[in-house]
Symmetry: C2
Subunit: 507 residues, 2 copies
């Protein structure tokens, strides 16, 4: 049991870094739960279809309205009514399974219902850690987060954990792509902030990953999240994103963000109806643009505190919506995304409890992708370094369970039980000697010392222990094999594009 | 949304106490998971039977050995070999369902597989809180813990959270019973510390709850935990406890405490074999004493840290053993007990994470009873007041999920969705106005304030917020209706028994 770091060198100081190694892709260890009555799932689906056909959805991009109308939708004032026949047709062409390629092909993912994919906390305007405090996200925190994502097998997708606000918006997509391609070899994300930035981002993926146009369009190489503007609205950049990603065969994660009581009905049932209607509208538009466009049914539902209006996460209602969303996704047969989350302001017991609860709901609902699975704080306003490290412990624990324990004769241990007499112990049993080095999950943050030792060592909490871990990881970080070459292929393109003034984001 | 405490008075200061009210008994919201292959469960069961018939178990109480021999067991030196026919006969007489009565009959429990029963952290030599620090358990902390148990509906059984070490051992059972009967109206526990204390404890239950001998023996009114001395040993007080509880028809929770790598084989499979063999031996002895004696299949398996030998809890192996134990319990058809746990030394993110993980494993395994579900720290060495409060949040969140959300037409919210236009919000919708007061789970400890407000309020962590909560609960505590009368009936008995010198514990 040598105390070695992941890179094979001896740990100099600080915590013993034991980063678990897991397969590039995991399958759910648990069967999905049918928490809601199957009749209720039918009712939610049907009510969502009634919302789309009778009440409609407001679509702010004329091109998207035209596409929907040509496919049979009707327009009343500024509302587009989408018939259930159109939705049904879309569900028939939407693929149930598709790949998401990575620079390192071994980290490419198959996106289909039984898979269990974890994505880091993302979209946070701020970053925080115990050394530097809470501050607006910048290029440094954006890149540090990418290094953390790259360093753990249980993070399958990289994401924009902290927004690099020090980069002007019209140039930010260059940083997004260059840093992802230069620091990681996992599937990358692109923000749908208008056609100009999306097309340049696609250019950079093609260049960096050395793909022909044909290769790029033939297979998904990236994904974006489309957030509808609940209730019942699809804004210009989001509509544009659906069209552009669908045309290029890239993955759309179409995610209404339905907070019951605020932008969605106060009931779990009603919030699920609204979520379902909006997600189906987005999926329908994508399938009109390109039948077979890869779409992930997106669900991110929770509730607000009715006293303050503050969003809450990891609550019973969050879990109920997640469980119901899984049933709705299975009802329509698509892979789907869920989200973990917490409203806590630091990586304390509340943060861990809420995140675990939303994570376990996602597991019991068999979420294909669980977003914000590590590092999300303050309902997404802040990416927390210590929170990230603590969440990795939970994800690794779950990943460990994917592999069933050995159940052969040797593991059943009749001989070991015979060897150890009553009153004895198994520390020196032959079975133990053969297996002790790899028998158990090695904790990343958990301190198993007893109270005396722990006190002598300074009574350090899990949050504070995590500080040394991320520091060590960042200090030892080496970009993955091939990334320098991939990044190198982008440099001229980015320099020229910057010279031309960058690319605007869409309002 | 008036800010009222549970007792109906306005909260004076400190956190707004929102203690959830739940039915006295909960059923599992989730289907049990078949995590291990059914063949593996057969193999574990069969290997455990081979252990019992070929290797045997050491039983230190001659009366227990005699009972087993008369029922067909053979003795080789100091080992008792139990044939699979004996085990099979025991499983045929062990009841699959039985009640556990409480002073308040509305809090009586039905013990059967689909039930979800939570028991507090118990058996801790120490207690800790943020005000008074960590100290040896005493009568004060024992009674304070009972008050906390009594105050939350999601704690179904009271337990000896902190051991009252300031009471001499030969008198301690009087304190155990008087405080439980005087401060709570839920089902009580008795420690199996020898026949003298057990019989006096039974006397006190009969007296306090005003039961005839016949009434007491006809129905279970209390339970005890029988911990086998793994590996393969049943000591004198535990053997004695099985005999005495079975004879009186009281509940035996027969629980091998199998820590893989230490007192059990290092493999999950092997540790489950040992657990299963020992539990079956105990159940068999109980059924020999009294066919139909109420037995709960006990499982408390985790692993140790192989570098230090320190017990670990909430680990992947703990979860795997819990999931496998649920399958084994279903295989033999008995209600069963699991345990949550953590090795953490304070109520931080590690404590919450480990406890949640072991709790969710118990949920997915459909544990009938989950012990140590609130307040357990340091692998059981300490009862933590703040940990207890934070764990209650998790238990209430799960209890909330037992009740499925409304799925009728009004809840589906088509009208509400029609009422709120795109770009609008649901805060003032008619559906919201009808439901906002009771729509969502009200958090006990979680602080949903944003970062600015939370910082202005002093950046208080979940652990520190919990301090005010338990303080308020203890300050406002009133013993339940009828408890004064019940306790009053014990006073003469206890005074006389003390005068006679108490009752010894068994070695």
């Amino acid at each position: 049991m040598a105390r070695r770091t992941r890179s094979g060198r001896k740990a100099q100081s600080g915590p013993f870094l034991q980063i678990g190694h897991y397969p590039a892709q995991l399958r759910h260890p648990f069967a999905p739960q049918d928490y809601l009555n199957p009749d209720a799932i039918e009712d939610i689906h049907d009510t969502a279809l009634r919302v789309l056909e009778n009440l409609g959805i407001k679509v702010l991009l004329p091109e998207a309205v035209d596409l929907l109308r040509k496919a049979g939708a009707t327009q009343h004032d500024d509302m587009v009514m989408i018939g259930r026949d159109m939705v049904q047709a879309a569900l028939e062409t939407a693929p149930k399974s598709f790949p998401l390629m990575a620079a390192n092909r071994e980290k490419s993912l198959l996106i289909e219902p039984a898979m269990m994919i974890f994505s880091p906390g993302a979209g946070c305007p701020n970053a925080t850690d115990r050394l530097r405090g809470r501050r607006p996200g910048d290029k440094e925190s954006y890149e540090e987060a990418l290094k953390l994502h790259q360093s753990f097998d249980v993070i399958h997708l990289v994401g924009p954990s902290a927004e690099p606000q020090d980069i002007p918006a019209h140039l930010r997509h260059y940083t997004f792509m260059q840093s992802q391609i230069g620091l990681t070899d996992k599937p990358v994300f692109v923000y749908a902030r208008g056609q100009a930035q999306v097309e340049e981002s696609f250019d950079m993926i093609r260049l960096g990953l050395n793909l022909t146009d044909k290769e790029f369009v033939a297979t998904p190489w990236t994904k974006t999240v489309i957030n509808t503007n609940s209730p019942r609205q699809l804004d210009r950049p989001m509509s544009r994103g659906i069209i552009d990603f669908a045309r290029h065969g890239q993955i759309l994660v179409i995610t209404p963000f339905c907070l019951a009581g605020a932008m969605a009905p106060i009931t779990v049932a009603g919030a699920l109806v609204l979520q379902h209607a909006e997600a189906l509208a987005g999926i329908t538009l994508a399938q009109i643009v390109r039948p077979g466009a890869p779409c992930v049914y997106g669900a991110f539902g929770s509730n607000v505190d009715m006293k303050s209006g503050a969003p809450a996460f990891g609550t019973p209602e969050h879990m109920q919506m997640t469980l119901g969303s899984g049933q709705l996704a299975r009802h329509i047969g698509l892979p789907w995304r869920s989200a973990a989350g917490t409203a806590a302001n630091l990586a304390d017991a509340q943060a861990a409890g809420e995140t675990q609860q939303s994570l376990w709901a996602a597991l019991n609902a068999n979420a294909t992708m669980t977003f914000h699975a590590a590092g999300w704080l303050e309902g997404g306003l802040t990416f927390g370094y210590e929170k990230f490290i603590n969440d990795i412990e939970a994800l690794q624990s779950i990943a460990h369970m994917v592999k069933r324990p050995d159940m052969d004769q040797s593991a059943l241990g009749y001989d070991a039980i015979e060897e150890v007499q009553p009153g004895g112990h198994f520390f020196a049993a032959a079975q133990t000697m053969q297996r002790y080095q790899t028998a158990f999950y090695p904790p990343l943050v958990a301190d198993l010392a007893n109270f005396g030792t722990w006190t002598e060592n300074g009574s350090i909490t899990a949050e504070d222990r995590a500080t040394k871990i991320w520091q060590t990881i960042l200090a030892e970080f080496k970009p993955p094999k091939g990334s320098e070459e991939r990044e190198g292929r982008l440099l001229d393109y980015i320099a020229r594009a910057r010279e031309k003034g960058g690319a605007p984001i869409m309002d």
